[in-house]
């Protein structure tokens, strides 16, 4: 190829050959609008740019109990870079259905996207973001050095923990409760030396007579939801 043009040569109109490109007012000669959008594509007043803060919330989905559905859901989260904190899956009263409970942390538009993208998966029957007053529970098994057994038992008592296994060297305590309670228990157990921890992630149900994720709840108009993206839920703490 002979056309080894130096990149800047082309600005010279006297260069042999024609100037490559089209005619018209240059960028700096054009009018520009004053408005701007933020990262979420929302129009903003450049003076008062409010960045959307991520919030933690629980999303409960009812799915067809079939092979591959868990990987469909987890794959969706990884490929769309949604921030997921925990995922639990378990059977329901209906053998053909399972419930997947997700704790996610995203700004409002991200949470909105998560719900919509989940709903698009064919084996997903319904998707619902739970209110902040929903019941949320987690279970943890904490294996502790049992050098001071009576103190361990006292701390376990404080958190309504149950000793499920013990030997001269270790004691394993089962704790259930809100995430915060388990965090606090683990922090307190640290003084004895923690060998291993296993936590289940959050399980959750809506309160009272509301059903957590029944097909009926999907009839909630998506358009309506989209027109009120500013639904504010209280932070996700309960108990």
């Amino acid at each position: 190829m002979s056309g080894e043009n130096e990149p800047n040569d082309r600005t010279e109109p006297t260069e042999p050959g024609h100037r490559r490109g089209l005619d018209g007012p240059a960028p700096e000669e054009r009018p520009t609008p004053a408005g701007r959008r933020n990262e979420q594509g929302i129009r903003i007043d450049p003076e008062v740019e409010a960045k959307q803060e991520p919030r933690r919330t629980v999303i409960s989905t009812l799915v067809e109990h079939e092979p591959g559905v868990l990987s469909d859901v987890s794959g969706l989260f990884s490929r769309r870079q949604f921030n997921i904190e925990s995922l639990t899956v378990g059977p329901t009263t209906d053998d053909d259905r399972a419930r997947i409970t997700l704790v996610v942390e995203e700004p409002d538009p991200g949470i909105d996207q998560i719900k919509k993208q989940l709903r698009k998966l064919i084996p997903v029957i319904s998707v619902r973001e739970l209110e902040s007053d929903a019941m949320r529970r987690e279970l943890a098994l904490v294996k502790i050095d049992a050098d001071r057994p009576s103190e361990v038992a006292a701390v376990a008592d404080m958190y309504d923990g149950k000793t499920v296994d013990s030997c001269p060297e270790t004691a394993t305590i089962e704790i259930t409760g809100s995430r915060q309670k388990i965090d606090a228990a683990i922090e307190t157990f640290e003084q004895f030396g923690i060998r291993e921890i296993d936590r289940t992630g959050t399980t959750a149900l809506a309160r009272g007579t509301q059903s957590t994720a029944a097909p009926a709840s999907t009839t909630e108009s998506t358009a309506e939801a989209a027109s009120h993206p500013q639904n504010q839920y209280a932070p996700a703490d309960d108990d």
Binding site: M1, R37, K116, A223, A226
Partner: protein
């Protein structure tokens, strides 16, 4: 001297005039095209009836698979044989479905994709397990990005072997989950036909997309007498057809009060058969129309209101209109980054009315002030009923026309330099009818094909938009040819790099005697990369300069196609005419100016309104 419609020997112009004056007939054609599929199904029925026999009851899983395709009205399938899919092919042997044996599975998936674009019905492709399935993946991903209806059927090793790393085993459903609308591992011979029916329905309904059914050899070989159910989507699949009337009402009010309105028509307009309704709405209310790349053909580009394509290589006037509008009626578009450029500067003064059948597209990239979830045709009709007075936008329309002249797409044709590619695209357009179908690869030639061909009808622009798959053009031309009406020319405008990736498809075109014309805009570069290297990498042509290309005309002849070559302007019109006159496939190797660049250009993440008209503005 620069004129957009550079004068071409005017022999064929009367044809064009005819086509122009019968624009309405053209519109009717598309409706007829839509009916065709129904007609196709009916004729299949009559054919079956003509045999004086009811279809034979199915006896195996494979027969049930093929029966499901027949029930769905499938006329063509594209594929490549192989071990694990053999039972299905054996069942296909007795079927009325015409199978086109492709040279490579990637070609099968692109051909099926293009068939789906042109016909509106899912294109069907088949491949065996392992490499067959993985070779389909590019075309499946392509269909997924562009929401094209497609059904892929893949063979799989027998169920007992799955998970053992058996010969030609790949976790096909695992591999394709991220790039399909839905996929299924068929585990039950009694259900396998229904799995295929359901996948076919899912590919077509709502927002279209590719679906896949993985068919283990023991399942297709197994005995079953279960006829497949009719194609229907599963109960968990819901589509909203009609938008919320209160949002429609407020959107209508916004349109009535707009002073700088535009319509932005995306690929969803074409897929939703909403082109006619959108045209009527725009013309009724005198609203300028911009399209996305997949939206090309939804609005006639020779209409005064057409601002043509916006985005990275969109026209300057489209990008000015998009940047300065105060109200955007966006229909069937997902606001891809090639359209929006930098989000912060995208239509920053516009209130956005977003019509889409997929709720997940609403406010995904650009916040919708008026979210209208529903079918494009239904919702635009709702809007049409709700809008009582046209927006007062005389000044805005004048401004748009001014931009059209300020940022004209006119190009120079210097006699002392090699052929300019724009000239070739315009010459091909001149030499063909308004209904001609254009397919492309990906790169500079694709952008010239967008910019310098005047599209007037939906389903005539067949390209790889979202995935940007080099090599799409030739296999797409094969699929498009079989879906098109006989009087529609099929022209593949390709690049040398793109053509080289899938040109084994010529063997298929020759064997099937398909009337397609491939024009390779040959600059012996990966031209778009070369252009970016000049602009952003100090002209360091790392791996973009082929330096040598085979003689494509000779290569075509070796395949049994007709080969042509163009080096000079005065050869252009005659050679194109001769190539188009061939009944079978022909290839024109057009040696274009290797230094030709695509403008206007908005750099990645840039401000649409600040598009560059030449390299020094980047």
């Amino acid at each position: 001297m620069s004129e957009r419609a550079t004068s071409i020997p005017p022999e064929e112009q009367h044809d064009d005039q005819d086509a122009d004056t019968t624009a309405n007939a053209g519109g009717d054609d598309t409706t007829a095209g839509g009916d065709d599929t129904t007609a196709g199904a009916t004729s299949a029925d009559t054919a079956a009836a003509g045999n004086d026999t009811q279809p034979k009851p199915v006896t195996t899983g494979a027969e049930s698979v093929v029966r499901a395709l027949e029930n769905a009205g499938v006329e063509y399938a594209f594929g490549v044989q192989g071990g694990a899919i053999m039972p299905v092919y054996d069942a296909l042997y007795d079927s009325e479905i015409t199978h086109v044996t492709m040279a490579h599975e990637q070609g099968a998936s692109h051909a099926a994709d293009a068939y789906g674009i042109v016909s509106g019905e899912p294109g069907v492709c088949l491949a065996t397990s392992g490499p067959g399935a993985t070779n389909l993946v590019t075309g499946i991903a392509d269909a997924d990005m562009d929401s094209d209806p497609m059904l892929a059927l893949t063979g799989q090793v027998p169920t007992d072997f799955v998970g053992n790393d058996a010969f030609q085993e790949t976790d096909t459903t695992g591999v394709t989950t991220p790039v399909t609308k839905d996929n299924t591992f068929a585990a039950d011979p009694d259900r396998v036909g229904t799995d295929v029916s359901e996948a076919f329905a899912l590919a077509r309904e709502g927002r279209p997309g590719p679906t896949l059914v993985d068919l283990p050899k023991d399942v297709t070989n197994a005995e079953t007498d279960r006829e497949p159910d009719e194609p229907a989507t599963p109960d968990t699949y819901e589509v909203t057809e009609e938008a919320d009337p209160t949002i429609v009402a407020s959107a209508a009010e916004r349109i009535e009060n707009a002073t700088r309105p535009i319509m932005l028509l995306g690929g969803g307009v074409i897929k939703g058969e909403a082109s006619e309704t959108c045209r009527e709405f725009a013309i009724e209310h005198d609203i300028p129309v911009v399209t996305t790349m997949p939206g090309i053909g939804s609005f006639p580009e020779d209409h005064e209101l057409s601002m043509e394509m916006a985005g990275m290589h969109g026209t300057g006037y489209a990008n000015m209109a998009i940047t300065h509008c105060d109200t955007m009626i966006a229909v069937g578009t997902r606001f891809d980054d090639r359209l929006t450029g930098g989000i912060e500067t995208f239509a920053p003064d516009a209130e956005i009315i977003h019509v889409d059948i997929d709720p997940a597209e609403i406010s995904k990239n650009i916040h919708a002030d008026y979210p209208l979830v529903g079918d494009a045709d239904t919702v635009v009709s709702q809007l049409a009923r709700a809008v009582e007075t046209s927006p007062q936008a005389t000044k805005w329309r004048a401004q748009c026309q001014q931009w059209k002249s300020d940022y004209s797409m006119a190009y120079d044709v210097p006699e002392d330099e090699p052929i300019q590619p724009e000239f070739v695209v315009e010459a091909l357009d001149e030499a063909t009818s308004d209904n001609a179908i254009v397919t492309t690869g990906v790169g500079q030639h694709q952008m010239w094909a967008c910019q310098y061909w005047t599209y007037t009808e939906p389903r005539t622009w067949v390209s790889s938009h979202g995935l940007g798959t080099m090599g799409y053009g030739l296999p797409a031309a094969i699929g498009a040819r079989l879906a098109a009406d006989d009087d529609q020319e099929v022209v593949c405008i390709d690049g040398d790099g793109s053509f080289l990736m899938t040109l084994q498809g010529l063997s298929v075109a020759v064997r099937e005697n398909l009337d397609i014309t491939v024009a390779v805009l040959n600059n012996e570069y990966i031209g778009m990369v070369r252009q970016w290297q000049d602009a952003f990498f100090e002209g360091r042509h790392s791996a973009s300069d082929y330096g040598w290309m085979p003689e494509f005309d000779k290569l075509a002849e070796a395949f049994g196609a007709s080969g042509f070559r163009i080096d000079e302007y005065d050869e252009v019109a005659d050679t194109i005419e001769a190539a188009l006159a061939e009944d079978g496939p022909s290839v024109i190797d057009v040696h274009i100016d290797p230094q030709a660049n695509v403008y206007p250009m908005v750099p990645s993440g840039g401000d649409n309104g600040q598009f560059a008209l030449a390299e020094d503005q980047l």
